[in-house]
């Protein structure tokens, strides 16, 4: 069992991680869509960047975000000695 302070700081870390993940999530999807007209002026390997962010770029970030979240939570669990086996 963890002490009350430990529980509070565990939850705080978890919440901050959630906010960070969702911030990046919103930036690569909604943020990129809002300025997609500008991004389309940049063309890489034939891909206008605005279109690319919507069709593939944001998806790659989504996958990485979930992996990052899962690994970070594992580390937090270990730090507090409550890692599941």
């Amino acid at each position: 069992m963890l002490s009350k302070e430990q529980l509070e700081s565990y939850w705080r870390e978890n919440r901050n991680l959630m906010i960070l993940v969702l911030l990046i999530w919103a930036l690569v999807s909604y943020g990129a869509a809002l300025i997609s007209g500008l991004l389309n002026k940049i063309v890489i390997f034939g891909f206008p960047l605005g279109y690319y962010m919507g069709s593939q770029g944001s998806l790659v970030v989504f996958v990485l975000l979930i992996i990052f979240y899962a690994v970070s939570m594992d580390n937090t669990d270990e730090k507090y000695g409550v890692k599941e086996d």
């Binding site: 991680l17 959630m18 390997f45 034939g46 069709s55 899962a70």
Partner: protein
């Protein structure tokens, strides 16, 4: 550890399965070379794959409660990821998605981002906590978190509404695929597919469904990749479509810019403009114009002699003629819209929404699809089946990765198909039309007519249905028929796996949530499983019955299901986990207002011309989602906080095992 050998055994089984499946495809390919007729190849794919799914269903049959509801809670993360991906990707993802991108360009990306981005919300806000809670269904969570039967009952209603519309669409998809590839009547196709669905879920519940979905994922992803890799090789010389379609995008932009100025294209567009005007006048003259049109056809029929070959044509036109002035109005309005769309030069394929209201609608739709993804009960349920909370987190990552493989490829499909049409179809003589166009024109997926009578195909003379893009790509790439059969098997796997997941969600909502938890709590576990199975049968039959009417509204209803799930479940689940102060009154008020407002705007804007800020019907959830959050927060603060046991319950799902006093797991 025992778990390791279980995972190893699973890996071995599915590796052998994948090898056997590829061998099966190759053998059929050799058979085709030796002269096996294509109808037999189609049958071999349909019955071969359904037989495999049925075998898995029979091997995993069970009468045990935990096996039936949550697959014994021992599905390893990677396999749960594959099962979730198959559960998630329906016939619409497999066949329709690339087509929507082909037709809509950038605007279609709302679906790509929406249906993947939702998993980020699911992974960080909901999935791990649901697994920690560790029961069977979403209404289970609502009752334990908020107390009392009312939250459970609202949950049951929302789960049934969202899942049933979605189920009907999947059953329709099965019917279309089987009838198109086997030449069976639609209704027989539906019942054939239904047998394939039932044999899994009926015998083994969640356990059989899970292991079948893993097998179905393998079939659908292999089927999706082969044609697009081939067409990428054909166009660019490199078999990696996901990277190479940038070239196709450039071709599309150049060709479309030329089409804008082409005098022949302008001529065709002018004819469309005139057509739109004519239809508009007919609509304005309703109902007199409807009567006149009918009379003209009847007179024409009467004037033809019984042997006249033209008779069949007129009879058909009369049969398809709108039955009532109201139907005429709807049909003609659609025809007018199409003519108007065809009369405009094609807009840039990568062009983003220009008007602010279009951008707002794009963002709103993306948001509704994302939040809806994280609120659909049949997906949420899958996170009960992993062994630990940790595996639930990893499993969300795997699920998105497996979904990503397909969605990351869909834009390539669309771009190659469009560049093929622009490069190798437009400008050709009607006499040299490629074989694939003729074949798919026969089933009505392509409509192509020489509108200006110059004998040359203009871009404005081609009307393509969304489904054609994936279905015709094997032929465009010059692949043998065996690949077309494989694509049909993939589409079937996508529809069956989603239908299975939905069926079990609905049957559980009735048997477990309604009957066992509310009406008769004294049932033995084995009776509960039996009732669940009986209901499965009933729900499946009702689903097939409704699907057999082939209502046009069904496709629309599926899009609505996302907004409904987004406005009902998502806020209530998130607040239940992240806001300890949330209580029953707040949750109930939030759900009722969220669901009610969304339904109100949907029906109002679809049928009665309601319009708030120019938001389209499909993004109705954009009002309901914030309303649910807001009402729940306000009402909960005005009423007493939840009792101590419930606050302890929240702690228990928030913290990992061993951090606080442990809660019991059923």
């Amino acid at each position: 550890m025992a778990g390791d050998t279980f995972v190893q055994r699973l890996r071995k089984i599915y590796a052998i399965y994948t090898g056997a499946f590829l061998a099966f495809v190759i053998i059929l390919g050799i058979g085709e070379k030796l002269g096996l007729p294509s109808a037999y190849i189609g049958y071999a794919f349909m019955f071969g794959t359904i037989a495999v799914y049925a075998t898995i269903g029979i091997i995993s049959r069970t009468g045990q409660l935990a096996e039936y509801y949550v697959a014994g809670r021992r599905v390893p993360a990677i396999f749960n990821g594959m099962a979730t991906a198959a559960d998630w990707m329906s016939a619409a993802s497999f066949i329709g998605m690339a087509g929507a991108l082909y037709l809509q360009g950038y605007d279609g990306l709302a679906y790509i981002m929406g249906w993947t981005g939702g998993y980020v919300l699911l992974a960080v806000l909901i999935a791990p906590y649901l697994r920690k809670f560790g029961k069977y269904t979403i209404p289970d969570f609502l009752e334990e978190r908020y107390g009392g039967k009312l939250p459970r009952i609202i949950g049951i209603i929302a789960a049934i509404i969202t899942s049933f519309t979605y189920l009907t669409a999947q059953v329709t998809g099965v019917g279309i695929i089987t009838s198109r590839f086997l030449g069976l009547p639609f209704e027989i196709g539906v019942f054939l597919g239904l047998a394939g669905i039932l044999v899994c879920s009926f015998l083994g519940g969640m356990r059989a469904v899970t292991w079948t979905q893993v097998a179905q994922y393998i079939v659908l992803i292999v089927a999706y990749m082969i044609p697009v890799v081939a067409i990428s090789y054909k166009h660019t010389g490199v078999p990696i479509p996901q990277i190479m379609y940038g070239q196709a995008l450039q071709t599309i932009e150049q060709k479309q810019a030329q089409l804008k100025e082409d005098p022949k294209e302008i001529e065709v567009r002018e004819i469309w403009k005139k057509k739109a005007k004519e239809i508009d006048e007919k609509i304005k003259a309703l109902p007199a114009s409807w009567e006149q049109g009918k009379k003209e056809l009847e007179q024409k029929l009467a004037s033809l002699s019984p042997e006249d070959p033209k008779r069949a044509e007129v009879e058909k036109a009369l049969k398809e003629y709108p039955k009532t002035p109201a139907e005429a109005k709807e049909k003609w309005t659609n025809a007018k819209k199409q003519a108007e769309a065809m009369s405009k030069p094609p807009k840039s394929y990568v062009q983003t929404p220009q008007k602010p209201i279009d951008m707002v609608n794009f963002l709103a739709l993306t948001f509704c699809l994302m939040v809806g993804t994280a609120g659909l009960p049949h997906i949420l349920m899958r996170f009960y089946t992993t062994p630990t909370v940790r595996e639930a987190r990893t499993s969300a990552g795997w699920a998105l990765f497996f979904i990503f493989l397909l969605y990351f490829t869909a834009p390539a499909y669309a771009a190659f198909a469009r560049s093929e049409v622009l490069q190798n179809l437009v400008g050709k003589a009607f006499a040299d039309m490629p074989a694939w166009v003729q074949k798919w024109a026969g089933v009505g997926l392509v409509k192509i007519q020489d509108i200006n009578g110059d004998g040359i195909i203009q871009f404005a003379e081609i009307i393509i249905q969304a489904d054609m893009v994936v279905l015709a790509t094997p032929e465009i790439a010059g692949l043998p028929y065996v690949v077309a059969g494989l694509v049909a098997a993939g589409g079937l796997a996508a529809a069956l796996s989603t239908a299975d997941g939905l069926l079990i969600t609905i049957s559980n909502a009735i048997s477990h949530d309604l009957y066992y938890k509310i009406i008769n709590p004294n049932l033995s576990p084995s009776t509960r499983v039996k009732i669940g199975k009986a209901l499965l049968l009933v729900v499946a039959l009702i689903g097939a019955y409704v699907a057999s009417f082939r209502l046009a509204i069904i496709v629309e209803l599926v899009a609505w299901a996302f907004s409904l799930a987004a406005a009902s479940f998502f806020p209530t689940l998130v607040l239940g986990i992240w806001d300890k102060r949330m209580n029953k009154a707040g949750a109930v008020a939030g759900m009722v207002v969220g669901l009610g407002l969304t339904l109100f705007y949907m029906i109002g804007s679809r049928f009665f011309g309601l319009d708030w800020f120019g938001i389209k019907t499909i993004a109705s959830g954009i009002f309901g989602i914030p309303a649910n959050f807001l009402v729940a927060l306000i009402v909960s603060r005005l009423t007493p906080p939840p009792p101590k046991e419930i606050q302890e319950f929240v702690d228990n799902i928030r913290y990992p095992k061993g951090a606080v006093k442990a809660g019991a797991e059923e």
